[in-house]
Assembly symmetry: C2
Amino acid sequence: MSNSSHHVPAIVIGRLPLYLRALTQLSSEGRRVTSSQELSEKLGFSSAQIRKDLSYFGEFGKQGTGYEIEYLEKSLREILQVHHLWDMVLVGAGDLGHALANYDGFESRGFRIVAVFDANPSKIGKQMAEWQVQPMEELDKTLRERNVNVAIIAVPAGAAQAVADELVEGGVRALLNYAPTTLSVPPKVKVYHIDPVAGLQSMTYYL
Amino acid sequence: MSNSSHHVPAIVIGRLPLYLRALTQLSSEGRRVTSSQELSEKLGFSSAQIRKDLSYFGEFGKQGTGYEIEYLEKSLREILQVHHLWDMVLVGAGDLGHALANYDGFESRGFRIVAVFDANPSKIGKQMAEWQVQPMEELDKTLRERNVNVAIIAVPAGAAQAVADELVEGGVRALLNYAPTTLSVPPKVKVYHIDPVAGLQSMTYYL
DNA sequence: CCATGTGAATACATTCACAGCA
DNA sequence: TGCTGTGAATGTATTCACATGG
């Protein structure tokens, strides 16, 4: 039974996008039904965990049959609020910013870059993918005019905190941070940190 | 007391790189001593957790004083085995591969790209940063000759599993995977998966 | 029968709180 | 005194195992 009064552990929320990704893949292979068992094998979580995770949000399956892929996919999109597109700004027009601006995997999964910013005068005005790089001075105006809630930080570590402060000041509540430094933000703001080297280091421990 | 016979939880290993990053930053600011409290504030973990995590590996602090930054940094580098450089290959010379090839944050943290590969004939032979893009046919030879244990996968989702198989076949035991798909590998091989969109989706749940 | 959904049991992770030492 | 290192207590997460219903 759906019970939105329950608090859902953050660790569960973190797995939902992976379930969604797997479902979209199955769906693209023409599959119509799957099971917690099959998802378990594809994802490496136990089938019990998958069932329990989903049960926080409702009853999506049919006993004896499994899950109707399209329906579960749609449900997860709504739970994660990615059934409509989120406008994002990208701050940082270096190599990484360039790769992100050209990445074509955002829209199908609920996100769209609407503007790109950089502090470096030599970058400003340059075309990057479909956007013209704007100066930082225009950031706040863009955030407010377009009511942007999501941003990507792709600047050097030394500039990241100042950029984060400006974004938060402009109303952004979700930050995807590529700078290798911890950001300090108000509690209402979410930060997801990507640090490939930290990932590498946690693997070499085992080698 | 150091007790390497204890099994250290993977979640603890995952935090060590963050401690290391913070220590390196403090060190670069000229600081010589820190405390679990200070690290707690910088990183957002509790001070008790930081002390307990470190205690899996030894006694690094001085009661009443705290931790000597340089010593703890050196110790963590050794625990994570990043006191020497790991040779890596990069597979995928698209926009993302280009950004990774030009990223200057690897060497200071224990990693070095030694070769770049791509399947696309139009990319092969092209210069990318200091490397000339090599064809996939040369991958296995390079892995064996240079005894490479670490690789970055920056290819489209559809090609990722085949690339992973080749890398594992060539002796790679740690994969940094940027393709938005789950990889299936033998148990001895570690995979760290980077999916920015999954990160974004787990934040929009809360908005 | 088969696979879900879920309480109960287990396993794991974090925090508490304080003895002990610089 | 101040801060570490750590058992004990608490809090979370995962797995078990089975009643339930298509």
